[in-house]
Structures are given as C-alpha cells and as structure tokens.
C-alpha cells in the first residue's frame, strides 16, 4: 500500500468525523456516493449473520431525510460527540476502490457536563475514488456497545 493512499483515506475518515463532531450534519451525506449505504448494526447481530440494524440508509436521499428529521421532527437531548479513531487498516486496494477498517470510540458530553463513553466499534468501509475525491460507497458501523444508552439520534 502506498503511503499517499493511506494518508488520503485517513483524511477522508477524519473529515467525516469532524463533520459529525462539529454538528455539520448537512455535510454528512456528501461523504457518500449517491447510492451509498450507511448502516449501524450491533456486533452481536453481525457475528451471528443476523441483519437487524438500528439505522440503515441505502442512498443519500435517506441520509438527508434522517438529517431533516433530526433537525425538525425528533426530540432528544442535543449530543456533543467526540470521535476518536485508530487502527486504520486497508484490507484491499484496487485502482479506484479500497476496503478499510477503522476502530472508533465516541464519547458524549451531556448538557449537565458529564462525559461518558457512548459507543465503541469498528467502521467497515468501501471507498471509491470519484471526481470529487474519495467517497464512501459503503460505511457499515458495527458497534460493540450493544446497550444503546437512551437513544441514538446522530450518525456515528
């Protein structure tokens, strides 16, 4: 694997988490190809080959709907996320495509000021090179923290 590719993919990953942590959710669908898949699924289902997700968008229109719903419909305490990522591995590398895995940890800070681990897991990503740079064709978020505290509103 060339170092520049690794650098480019890490850049994509860090730009992605910054959009969520900075509460720029409107930018979030733009990290995907139009037919991109975004799925959050517990590890216990993944391990047993069971398909039930907690959230699944199979195109960017569904992602924009999720953002619109979070902004205007759903009621929840505004989260303050900080994503930490580590261990980025490129599993497979093609001319304009790559498979990668990255560990993530999300801490959330409540309005009252308590910070706690909200979720740990792994990103299983398929990325493709487009005219606008690297995008996710698939981002599957497989979380270890099977007990979701209270609710999950924002993307991971």
């Amino acid at each position: 694997m060339s170092l520049p590719l690794r650098w480019q993919l890490l850049e994509l990953q860090e730009a992605y988490i910054a959009a969520i942590d900075d509460d720029r959710l409107e930018d979030w669908p733009g990290f995907f190809t139009d037919d991109g898949l975004y799925e959050i699924i517990p590890k216990e289902n993944e391990d047993f080959g069971l398909p039930a997700p907690i959230l699944r968008c199979d195109n960017t229109a569904m992602m924009r709907d999720r953002v619109a719903s979070l902004r205007h419909a759903n009621i929840f305490e505004q989260p303050t996320y900080r994503h930490m990522i580590s261990g980025l591995r490129v599993i497979e590398e093609g001319a304009d495509t790559a498979l990668m895995r990255t560990n993530y940890l999300v801490v959330n800070t409540s309005l009252e000021g308590t910070t706690s681990v909200y979720q740990a897991g792994i990103y299983k990503d398929v990325v493709v090179r487009t005219e606008d740079g690297w995008k996710f064709r698939e981002k599957r978020v497989v979380y270890d923290t099977s007990r979701v505290q209270t609710l999950l509103a924002y993307p991971i």
């Binding site: 398909p51 907690i54 569904m62 999720r66 759903n74 305490e77 007990r147 979701v148 609710l151």
Partner: protein
C-alpha cells in the same frame, strides 16, 4: 434455598388516592423498596415473563441468556427438543454458569468447580464426588437429584417463550387470555424467522415504559415525524382492548379498507408548500399482510413483552427491569419464514422507524427519563391520568388514557396496595 420465597418482612403499602387508576403516586417509580417488592410479587409471583422467541433457539441444544425481572435465567432447547429454563446460578456455590449470550450445548458446566448440568438443569456431574484414592468425596447422603438448578415453568405460545417461578399461575394460554390471544394469533399466524436484536438502556423505571405503550394520547404529540413531513394519516380506525386484569392490552390502528396500499404510498409523498417532505419515502412503504391494513399493532403482555407490528416491521420487545430507575429494552426483530426477498428487505429498511434510533420511537425513552428526573423529591405528588376518564366505554380512540388506568388497577391488585374511596 431456591431464593423465591418472600424477602420483604414488613408489609409495604403505597396507597393510591383513587381506585380507578387515575392518580398514581410517584413513589412507585423511584422507590427501591417498591422495586424489591415487585421482584417478589410480580416477577417471582403469579405471572409469565417473556424470555425470547423459539426461533432464536431452533436446534436442540440451542440456548440464550435472558431475565425474569432482575433474575438471570437461561432458556434452552434440550436434547429431546423440549424447551426449558433455569436460573443462571450454580446450585453449588452460586456462580453464574452460562457465560455466553447465546450458543449451542447440551451440557452446561460451572467453571468454578466444574459441576455440570443438562440443558434441562439437572445436575449430571460433580468432580471428586466419590473422592480420589484415600481422600473422601461427598457424603453418602449427597444425591445429585436434590441439587439441580432452580427450574422455571416454561411454556410457549405460538413461538413466544415464557417462564414463570409460580406453581400456581394459570397455564400460559389462559394467562394471556382470550381477548389478547386473538391479537397474538394475528401476528404469530405462521412460522417466523429471527432477524436479530437491538438493545436500549434507559435510566428510568420500567413501568414508565409500560405506561408509554398503553398511551396512544402521546403518539402524535411526542413523535413528530409524521406531522413534520406532512404524512397524512386520515381515516384511521382505532381499537383498544384489555384482558380481564387490565395488565395486558392491545392497540390496533387500521387504515380505511377502501384505500389500497398504492393509495397509501401516494399519500405519503403528499406535500405542502411550506412543509418538509421525505426525499425517499420508501421507508414508509407498506404491504398488507393481515385481514386489516394495520399500521400499528402495539400489544403489551405483562410484565415483559410488547408485541409490535408497525407497517411491516415485526418486533417482540422484551422489557427488563434493572433497578428502580433503570430498564433495558431488547427489540427482537423477526419476519415470516415465507417472506419474499423484497418483503424481507422492506422489513429491514423499516427498522429505521422503530428501536433505539427509530424515527417514531426514539423519543419514548427520552420521555420516560424526563419523568424519572422530574419526580425527584416528589413527596406525596402524583400523576394525573384523566383523559376520557368520564367515558370508559370510548375505546375506539387515540385520545384516551384508559389503557393506562386499567393497567394501574391491575398492578395495584397484584402488589396489594390500598386505594382511596374515590371512583
């Protein structure tokens, strides 16, 4: 000791101001003493608690960990295919035996001293039972038959597995009751396939969630998804029913029969100039699977199960009380064994509607936590459940707290709490 005897020595009473379940003392939501008494009188009392689906343990030897109230149990399918359940506590020194969430084994061995048990909970082996060389083993009067695991009564109704500590509770079908069986049968009308589960943890009392699933009044007010996206829900026919105890209930919301599924789809994308619209309304697609074109079927079978059909998502929600101010909710997703690939994909897509991140459900635990925080320092304060109280026969409406009131009557009877004279 099997640990199922009474632990509360003194009689605890939380007096309810009224007999009709319309005033609820907040103490029932944040008292550790009430929670302890519920373990005894409800979860170890004359009730059946939902453990899981038969479809989760289809093969002989399959098992999964579950709970009856706070007590950890394991439900299994034994070598002969029979269902069993036992408390996950070694009969020797009390260690947890089964350490995996689910798996397959016909023998369960405690790691501490390797006492081994069958899938039905019978003690099969005790290392060094007859000693070794010149060292003695267990006394001659030690009989393995006396030291099996604490077994539960287990019954399945249409693939829903329940367990009970009670020797006196009626058989499961009778406990569910004829009014409720009609609704259970509606959903569990043919073989199902388990699709996995998601879990949600809430810092609030488990009965706040029971109130929530018996309260159609909040639906359009707390969950703003439909109204925000101008998704019209016209011509809905509502049915609410309880069993004779009031503890179980069913809410069925049915679309007008004349409207086809296509018509429903067209309605979903109707927009107003100043409103929002869904760019991909496929999440609200719906195919008719039952005699009625029902959008919502919400049916709590007290104390641990809520059967849910919302559009084409099918879920058995398990409600597990963890403390006076904590509960866990496990959403067991399923489909029918004869689903087409398209219908199965639709069920998976509609998981977006329900569960911990669901468009029309995520607020429920938010609301129960708001109550839990709001009632701190409650003194003698109580909640008010008056909506349609003067019209108890009006059951074909969402604008009612009737099911919640009936629940509290049933709960008060089960707990033995007193009530004032009014109503």
């Amino acid at each position: 000791m099997d640990g199922t005897g009474p632990i509360t020595q003194e009689l605890l009473d939380i007096p309810f101001p009224r007999r009709d379940g319309s005033r609820i003392p907040y103490a029932v939501f944040n008292s550790p003493e009430v929670y302890a008494l519920e373990q005894e009188r409800i979860f170890r009392g004359p009730t059946w608690s939902f453990l899981g689906l038969e479809a989760e343990i289809p093969k002989n030897g399959d098992y999964k960990r579950s709970y009856v109230g706070e007590t950890p149990v394991v439900m299994t399918r034994a070598k002969d295919g029979e269902l069993a359940a036992w408390v996950n506590r070694c009969s020797h020194r009390g260690a947890e035996i089964c350490r995996k969430t689910r798996g397959n084994s016909v023998v369960h061995t405690c790691v501490y001293h390797q006492w081994s048990f069958s899938a039905k909970g019978d003690l099969q082996g005790v290392p060094f039972r007859r000693g070794q060389k010149d060292q003695t083993g267990m006394p001659p009067d030690f009989d393995v038959k006396d030291h099996g695991l604490r077994k539960l009564r287990v019954e399945s109704y249409r693939g829903l597995v329940f367990g009970s500590f009670s020797d006196t509770v009626a058989p499961l079908a009778e406990y569910i009751g004829p009014e409720m069986r009609e609704y259970v049968d509606r959903i569990f009308n043919r073989p199902i396939e388990y699709l996995g589960c998601t879990r949600q943890f809430s810092n609030s009392n488990w009965k706040l969630y029971i109130e929530n699933v018996k309260d159609p009044y909040h639906a359009s007010l707390l969950h703003l998804f439909h109204t925000t996206f101008n998704i019209l829900r016209v011509g809905m026919k509502v049915t609410t029913t309880t069993d004779s105890t009031g503890l179980h209930s069913a809410l069925l919301v049915v679309k007008n029969q004349e409207e086809t599924a296509e018509g429903y789809k067209a309605q979903n994308i109707r927009t107003y100039q100043d409103g929002f619209r869904l760019q991909d309304p496929s999440v609200l697609d719906m195919v008719q699977e039952y005699a009625e074109l029902s959008t919502n079927h919400i049916q709590p079978i007290f104390p641990q199960l809520v059967i849910q059909q919302i559009h084409n998502t099918l879920v058995a929600r398990q409600l597990i009380a963890k403390a006076h101010d904590k509960f866990e909710l496990v959403f067991h997703f399923f489909g029918y064994a004869d689903d087409t690939p398209e219908l199965r994909a639709m069920r998976i897509k509609q998981a977006n509607l329900v569960g911990p991140a669901g468009y029309i459900s995520m607020e429920d635990t938010e609301a129960t936590e708001l109550v839990q925080r709001g009632i701190v320092g409650h003194g003698t304060a109580q909640s008010v459940l008056d909506m349609s109280r003067h019209k108890p026969d009006e059951t074909a409406t969402m604008i009612s707290e009737g099911l919640v009131r009936r629940f509290w009557e049933g709960y008060r009877n089960l707990m033995g709490f007193s009530a004032g004279d009014l109503a």
